[in-house]
Point group: C2
Chain length 333, copies 2
DNA sequence: TATGCGTCATGAAACGCTTGCAAAAATTTA
DNA sequence: TAAATTTTTGCAAGCGTTTCATGACGCATA
């Protein structure tokens, strides 16, 4: 007793109108006489008819689905963006296909292809490194793409982000103003533009302004994990740093705890400032001073931006910059 | 110069075979002469043909997409599950439509409907409270559903989880064995079965076994936030508790910091044990002792389970129970 | 030589909906 | 009241695949 799925055709028959009319009422097309609309709606209700989105997608060439490429949902930075994306997507009647890439360019390409095969109407890419091949594929496809929470150094792709350079300048200035002459710069991989071209630049800018010589010894390139930060302390000590700017919160929590577990007093002997103001910054002790980024909003704006592109609306700017902030907590003087 | 999308028909023409044949080679159907297959493959390569998954979905009634209903991606507990789900989904060539519900039953129903409209092949539900209406819809649809990281008290839906009762028993026993006579039970909303029917039961079981009378004063029902835990300290003190079992990590971190900020020594004066062993447990000081749940695996197994249902394979058990553990850290003696 | 069988390929009907075009109906204008 | 408009409807051609009932072909068997 397989219950047959009921289609637009069944509704049309029962309501004694054509499929076209049913389609119109389902889609809210105004060209339907109110009486007819009412009649159709009743039948829809009675039969419990639900339009099949796949058939719709095939006929209209729109799936109301967008693909989201994310390095790792488990990372609070990205999941915050994702949350903003999903909320706005829902608002505009879109759904999200979420795919983890582990920041691995092979996976990214793989994932992009399946997203395109599924005919997503748009794509939001999160990640800090766009391989040439990926870039080529983005450009080759006519599906709109937005970068959320990162910036395209080549300025070809639309993106939503903060002014990383200025934010780092502010954070590092603060540290130097407290009398720190040797401030460590601790970041993730330098092959990510955000680290090598933006954050590091902000760091250098401040040094230049303060007439402090840049010392490569103070630059630590590592990965984004808590553990990586935790074991960095000996190296920080031997480089003679008395403060550190860190490009990631988990990493910063590691640095902070590594220092304290080794007996260093924070902030008396060592100051730390981090970059993303995620929950972690308030859970550790002392709480971490941090650059603040409106992560949820970045996601939300990205999605909103994407809806415009999908509707082929005119957009004036290729990328939008959201305001950042800085919150002083107990990890700095 | 809109470049026309190339279809299976174009490939068929170029390769001088029928669409049916092209379809077979694309789908790896063995009934194709090697020479023909090769010829078709070459044309596919040359034209850069990509099958349209939407058309496929319509024709085959399979979308290779599963819907995932998640309370909040931003919550590490759920995002860990989601990660496990996605990895296994990818392994089996499925994609994930991720939808946040905020544990709001209206949204859940809303989301479920759009997932079904999109013809997902299966659904994974995360959340601790299944409203009657949602349950009705699950049962009404013929799309398979699995609960990940929670258990159905009515035992109607398939699920993957740990033995919550036993896990809590172990954690609370440990606390009592350290000499604590008054152990607080701090959990999220009691209208969630996991709290009221499983965790609390484990707590009571232990009390009974240890011949300690159950005191409702020691039961704290709150929400899952860090802040909620942080402000709970005065109440804990006045209830005379010297230790606490907490049902959520962020909440536990709040309790821990609330106690310490008020000058209580942990674990000397107050012990805390939590439930999910997320990253947070190692970031706070002292580190939190915790029940350990294989979150990633729960997600992974859920998805694997779902693939079986989607393939209509025989499954012996309605629900699978994964092993939990207990890790002792510095927040308990 | 007639028959049967397995392999490989074809044709065409679904799948459930949207949409451009034209016809029909309702309304307005003269 | 007829003509001119405007509003509502219906028709039917897609959208790009899958899949099933058939057929063609080659080869072994009786």
């Amino acid at each position: 007793m397989e219950k047959k799925t009921i289609t637009i055709y069944d509704v049309a028959r029962e309501a004694a109108v054509s499929m076209a009319t049913v389609s119109r009422v389902v889609n809210g097309n105004p060209n339907v006489k109110p009486a007819t609309r009412k009649k159709v709606l009743e039948v829809i209700e009675r039969l419990d008819y639900r339009p099949n989105a796949v058939a719709r997608g095939l006929a209209s060439k729109k799936t109301t689905t967008v693909g989201v490429i994310i390095p790792d949902v488990t990372d609070i930075y990205f999941s915050s963006l994702a949350r903003g994306i999903d909320d706005v997507a829902t608002m505009y009647k879109y759904n999200i296909i979420l795919a983890n890439s582990d920041s691995n360019s092979q996976k990214e390409i793989q994932v992009l292809n399946t997203l395109l095969a599924k005919q997503v109407d748009g794509i939001i890419y999160m990640g800090n490194k766009i391989s040439d091949e990926l870039r080529a594929q983005f450009e080759h496809s006519k599906t709109p793409v937005i970068l959320a929470g990162s910036v395209d150094p080549k300025e070809e792709l639309g993106s939503v982000h903060i002014d990383y350079v200025a934010a780092v300048e502010e954070a590092v200035s603060d540290l130097i103003n407290h009398g720190n002459k040797r401030v460590a710069f601790i970041s993730g991989p330098m092959d990510e533009a955000i680290n090598s071209e933006y954050r590091l630049k902000g760091y250098k800018n401040v040094l230049a302004k303060k007439k402090i010589e840049y010392d490569p010894e103070l630059v630590f390139e590592t990965d984004y994990s808590y553990r990586a930060g935790e074991i960095l302390w000996p190296a920080i000590v031997s480089a003679g740093a008395t403060a550190a700017f860190v490009g990631d919160d988990e990493l910063a929590a590691g640095v902070l705890n590594g220092a304290q577990d080794a007996g260093a007093g924070v902030p008396e002997n060592f100051e730390v400032v981090t970059s993303n103001n995620s929950k972690i910054t308030e859970i550790v002790r002392p709480k971490l001073s941090s650059i603040t980024q409106p992560l949820y909003d970045i996601g939300a704006v990205s999605m909103r931006f994407l809806t415009k592109l999908m509707n082929k609306e005119e957009v004036t700017e290729k990328s939008v910059e959201l305001p950042y902030g800085f919150i002083k907590r107990a990890s700095t003087k």
